[in-house]
């Protein structure tokens, strides 16, 4: 661009009309900016949240697929709305993405789209994985190697139901219906069994604040979770960015949000506990940093929580602070170390565990939606 051109330009006519829009605040862009302002001017996260309720999953959720998402370590990303993403084109996306990956893997070697590759990508919806009916439907992307025979495969594809024909493909995906598309080569057969090398899924749980500001061309799935090699995430992410004009950013979880997580997860009612409530602090000191791990029996943690918890069904900032302060003072009494001066880097409970680097592992099926709702909130905060 030529800067000398710039000086000769007069301000455009429509500036004024946008100005009007501004004060009326009508356009999605204006709403977006408004919400950014609100976000910035008030406390970053709302000071009270609901305690995750037992199983808020919709009835039509596929338990087998849910099981597949549990107990895996996921790396978190925030994602801006996808432009012109269509649930009816999942099959086509599979073809394009596998060709793209193949081409990326063998730099400079062109590949035909739709050719039978060793690399296979499958898009499949995760019906029911939503907080409200308005939330966009989650979907899963798996990238596997075919013709890689392994008897005890954890590739769940062969058990998936077969392709169901859509009545009106032009009208988009009807809300709340099970929808499954598989490409032909994924139909169960002996030698197409493969190994899943990489899995990623996109979801939006209670993402109302984002939905308000997006127009109908966009699909809001602000939370993206990936499991597998970073290089695969890179290639697949690049494809999504190029195809749907979206933007992935790594989603880190700061210590403040970690304390919220541990408080909310401790507050969850559990039938039985599978893991201790554990904290990991990092003390920056040379030559090696010192990590302090602090594990409590989950029932003790729950008892402590119940003693600080006042508002039924909700968690407030004061309660979170109080909960943590109790833990700090207990630790200080025994070890004379002020943990509040160290950096909290990981929390784990029977519900889930989270690392400040943006890694999460969800353990409890019951509170999956609750955990994801908070992560969605963080992701939306990051993209605003």
């Amino acid at each position: 661009m030529d800067p000398s051109d710039a000086s000769e330009l007069t301000p455009r006519q429509s500036a004024s009309s946008r100005l009007k829009d501004y004060f009326i605040g009508a356009t999605p862009l204006q709403k977006r900016l408004e919400s950014v302002r609100k976000q910035t001017s008030f406390v970053p996260t709302s000071p009270r949240r609901k305690i995750p309720q037992c199983s808020q999953l919709q009835e039509d959720i596929d338990t087998q697929k849910i099981a597949f998402l549990l107990r895996k370590q996921w790396t978190l990303y925030s994602l801006t709305p996808l432009y012109r993403f269509s649930y009816t084109n999942l099959k086509e996306y599979s073809r394009l993405l596998s060709a793209f990956i193949t081409a990326e893997k063998q730099k400079g070697f062109a590949v035909e789209v739709g050719e039978d590759f060793n690399i296979k990508v499958i898009f499949s919806p995760l019906p029911g994985m939503k907080g409200t009916q308005r939330d966009s439907e989650a979907f899963l992307v798996q990238r596997g190697l075919l013709r890689y025979y392994r008897p005890q495969s954890d590739f769940p594809i062969p058990d998936w139901p077969p392709l169901r024909k859509k009545e009106s493909p032009a009208l988009g995906f009807p809300e709340g219906k099970t929808h499954q598309i598989l490409s032909k080569s994924q139909l169960p057969s002996e030698n197409t069994e493969g190994k899943v090398l990489w899995t990623g899924w996109f979801c939006c749980i209670f993402g109302d604040s984002l939905l308000e500001t997006a127009s109908e061309d966009f699909t809001c799935l602000p939370l993206f979770l990936a499991n597998g090699a970073e290089s695969n995430t890179a290639i697949i992410g690049t494809w999504f960015q190029k195809t749907f004009d979206c933007y992935f950013s790594p989603l880190a979880i700061n210590a403040f949000n970690l304390t919220w997580m541990v408080a909310m997860w401790t507050a969850c009612k559990m039938d039985y506990y599978t893991a201790a409530t554990e904290f990991l602090w990092s003390v920056p000191c040379s030559p090696q940093s010192l990590d302090i791990s602090y594990a409590i029996h989950p029932e003790d943690a729950k008892a402590l929580w119940d003693s600080v918890h006042k508002t039924p069904g909700e968690v407030t900032q004061e309660e979170v602070d109080l909960f943590m302060d109790c833990l700090y003072s207990h630790f200080h009494r025994h070890f004379k170390i002020h943990l509040s001066a160290a950096r909290l880097i990981r929390v784990s409970t029977s519900v889930a565990s989270a690392h400040t680097d943006g890694k999460i592992k969800i353990l409890c099926h019951k509170y999956l939606i609750g955990v994801l709702a908070y992560l969605t909130e963080l992701a939306i905060f990051q993209i605003e």
Partner: protein, 747 residues
């Protein structure tokens, strides 16, 4: 790679443009055989080559015609190798060709001879090497020549040379439509291993979207499988992918730059000459507009190759689910105007309704034409895509968010500069930048990318100041008060630019005749309020800064620069708004030791005077529509300032009466104690500390005065002194005195 293509088609266009004006200049080709001895003419022509071009041209032309006729008419003989006449004619052709090039007809005839191969391989080669156009090559000649290739009379090496020639001369061919019809023929020639690199190059130049077919893609992939990764095939494949991304996928290595061996080498020097010839006749070569130029940095992380994505057409809209493409899809895809073709503003205007949009909206930052487009487009999704991309990229790249990100600092600065250029170009700020400022200003150290950051501040779109204040200006104020004077000056500078931008936007708005009535009126009032709040805010900042920096002249200059904008809002921007400066600025400026400050404040007072007078006049005229009546306090305050100034500069009665509680009043007792009870004369044009040196040097210009006695400047001398001051470039003072003081009474 696509740049190369773009460049090619550009020159092609230029040639086409040139052709219209060139046609008449082409030497007229007459088949008139002269009986004279061609040899002597040729000799003559050669001797004179350096002396008289025109004659050599004409005579050479005649010899050339004879030579060409010879080549055309000669029967096919078995051996031409030792023929003297042939050699002579060939020399003639070569000389003329390398000197001035050949006319289309000459090329047509000789090309025919060369590819027919009737004189044998060596001669064909020599002829092909001198097929240099004067200006253009006719398309038909090429088509004819290609048809000879099918006959199979010419050797492989001649074919190779022909293709190389075709690639090198591609831009000089007048039309390409018929050649494009031969696409299939060229495509099948790819199978010939020797020809393949050159044919690929030709196809690369020739391929249009409609030429890309699934069977061709498959054929190319077969070739690739057979021959391995060949750069020329890669280039062609990636072009295919560019046109139809749903058929093929390829990812090119980033470092490779050259995909085709240069075919131009043989003709390099003469090509430049031909281009210059052609260019001379075309009035203005099209300006380079497609700026993206595929400048890719080394891939450093997966999000992008460089921060700003490369301009690519979007692929997913219609091709997805292509098998059952609907009618509307067909219509829209046929009608859409491809991005690669977009090269000028008129093109943008003609195709604005059917412009193909880039797959990643961020790429528009590098393309000024598309910036125009997104500036006027009403489609919210385009703006939202750009908004999301820019917000996230700014956040992701921002260097003070991350501790170990120093090495990318330069890249971030460049990125910010690109954004600021785009904002200047559009004369409008981006919302993403505003949102970015909200988030990053509280974390900013006031040092990193200062210039860029403050420029972003100056492009904040006009909005409610009271809303912006806690988000932006409060944070800025903290930095302002705790930083150096230079930082304070830069902040004031950018706030001045912000004010100017707001005033411009607002004045555009007020000029639009109100279509909708009631809500707009109030919003206009709201935005006027916003502007005046901004001015008040800067007044507050300035007053405090003056105290902190102990009335620094340097700082005062920047403050007064700001008020130079403020004082002219009524006249320059036609906005019913006049805000005066606070006394904390006025008095230090009035009593400054620096004459340029005094001059500046005189100028500002003069402009205030003009603006307020104009406003008053207007108010009287249209009493009914006076929604924005000025507060009478503004007038009072101004009058007070004016009286003080006149007192200080003219009547030597400073701070006489306290008209306003804001004025300076000094107890006479204190003055007495300080021994300056005679203060009455100590402030006027002569005694004012800023002007004292002028008075002294004025007096020194009078040779008869031996001692410098300032009190002698009065009466007539006072007038001379005034003229002297005015001649010393104190323009502001001149304007102020002329407008505010009636000089009937001379003190």
């Amino acid at each position: 790679m696509s740049t190369q293509r773009v460049k090619n088609s550009r020159t092609q266009k230029r040639t086409l443009q040139g052709s219209k004006s060139c046609q008449t200049r082409l030497p007229i080709w007459k088949i008139t055989e002269k009986p004279s001895d061609s040899e002597s003419i040729l000799k003559h022509g050669q001797n004179n080559r350096e002396g008289n071009y025109q004659r050599a041209d004409d005579e050479g032309g005649d010899a050339l015609q004879i030579a060409v006729r010879f080549f055309e008419k000669s029967p096919i003989k078995t051996s031409w190798s030792k023929d003297k006449t042939l050699e002579k004619h060939l020399k003639t052709v070569e000389n003329v060709a390398w000197e001035n090039g050949l006319a289309p007809e000459g090329i047509d005839a000789l090309l025919n001879v060369a590819v027919s191969g009737k004189f044998g391989n060596a001669i064909s080669t020599r002829i092909l090497k001198c097929m240099i156009p004067t200006t253009l090559i006719s398309e038909d000649s090429v088509v004819k020549a290609v048809s000879w290739l099918c006959v199979g009379k010419c050797s492989g090496s001649t074919k190779v040379l022909f293709y190389r020639w075709l690639v090198a001369m591609f831009d000089f061919i007048d039309h390409k439509e018929k050649i494009n019809l031969l696409y299939g023929f060229f495509f099948s020639s790819l199978q010939d291993d020797a020809l393949c690199p050159y044919v690929s190059h030709l196809l690369y130049l020739l391929t249009k979207k409609e030429n890309v077919k699934p069977f061709r893609v498959r054929k190319l992939l077969d070739l690739q499988a057979k021959m391995g990764m060949q750069p020329h095939l890669q280039a062609l494949l990636s072009l295919f992918k560019f046109f139809v991304p749903t058929l093929i996928s390829v990812s090119l290595p980033l470092r490779r730059k050259i995909y085709f061996k240069s075919s131009e080498n043989l003709w390099k020097s003469v090509l430049i000459a031909v281009r210059q010839r052609n260019q001379r006749s075309s009035p203005a070569p099209p300006k380079l507009m497609l700026g993206s130029a595929n400048v890719r940095c080394v891939k450093r992380k997966w999000n992008s190759h460089s921060i700003i994505p490369v301009l690519n057409p979007s692929s997913h809209n219609k091709e997805c689910g292509k098998k059952e493409m609907s009618l509307s899809d067909c219509l829209s895809s046929d009608g859409s105007f491809p991005l690669v073709k977009l090269r000028s503003f008129p093109q943008l205007l003609q195709n604005i309704h059917s412009l193909e949009l880039p797959s990643q909206m961020g790429s528009v930052l590098n393309n000024s034409l598309l910036l125009h487009y997104i500036n006027c487009v009403r489609d919210e999704s385009v703006l939202l895509r750009f908004y999301h991309w820019l917000s996230q990229t700014l956040q992701e790249e921002c260097i003070w968010y991350k501790v170990n990100n120093c090495e990318y600092g330069k890249e971030f600065v460049n990125f910010l500069n690109t954004i600021i250029n785009a904002e200047c170009f559009l004369q409008e700020g981006f919302y993403s930048c505003e949102a970015f400022l909200y988030k990053s200003l509280p974390l900013w150290d006031g040092f990193c990318c200062r210039s860029q950051f403050l420029q972003l501040v100056s492009w904040i779109p006009l909005s409610s100041f009271s809303e912006l204040k806690p988000l932006l200006f409060d944070h800025l104020a903290q930095l302002f008060f705790t930083s150096t004077i230079y930082f304070k000056c830069s902040v004031l500078q950018s706030l001045k630019e912000l004010l100017q931008n707001w005033l411009l936007w607002l004045s555009m708005d007020i000029h639009m005749k109100p279509v909708i009535c009631s809500p707009l009126e109030t919003t206009l009032g709201g935005s006027m309020n916003s502007v005046s709040e901004l001015i008040d805010y800067v007044g507050w900042l300035s007053t405090t800064a003056m105290r902190l920096e102990s009335n620094s002249t340097f700082l005062l200059h920047f403050i007064l620069d700001f008020y130079e904008k403020v004082c002219d809002t009524y006249i320059n921007y036609n906005l019913p708004l006049v805000v005066l400066f606070p006394p904390g600025i006025f008095y230090p400026a009035l009593l400054s030791l620096d004459s340029s400050i005094l001059n500046q404040i005189c100028y500002i007072m003069h402009r205030y005077h003009k603006n307020l007078t104009a406003a008053k006049k207007n108010e009287l005229v249209q009493k009914a529509k006076s929604e924005f009546n000025f507060n009478s306090k503004t007038y009072q305050e101004f009058n007070h300032y004016l009286t003080t100034m006149v007192g200080c500069l003219w009547t030597s009665k400073p701070f006489q009466k306290v008209l306003c509680h804001k004025g300076i009043h000094i107890d006479p007792k204190i003055l007495e104690e300080a021994g300056i009870a005679e203060y009455k004369n100590s402030l006027n044009l002569v005694h004012h500390p800023a002007l004292l040196s002028y008075a002294v040097s004025f007096l020194q210009e009078w040779p008869e005065e031996r001692t410098v006695n300032l009190s002698t400047i009065r009466g007539k001398k006072w007038n001379w002194y005034l003229d002297y001051l005015f001649s010393e470039e104190l323009e502001g003072l001149k304007l102020f005195i002329r407008s505010s003081i009636h000089r009937s009474s001379v003190p």
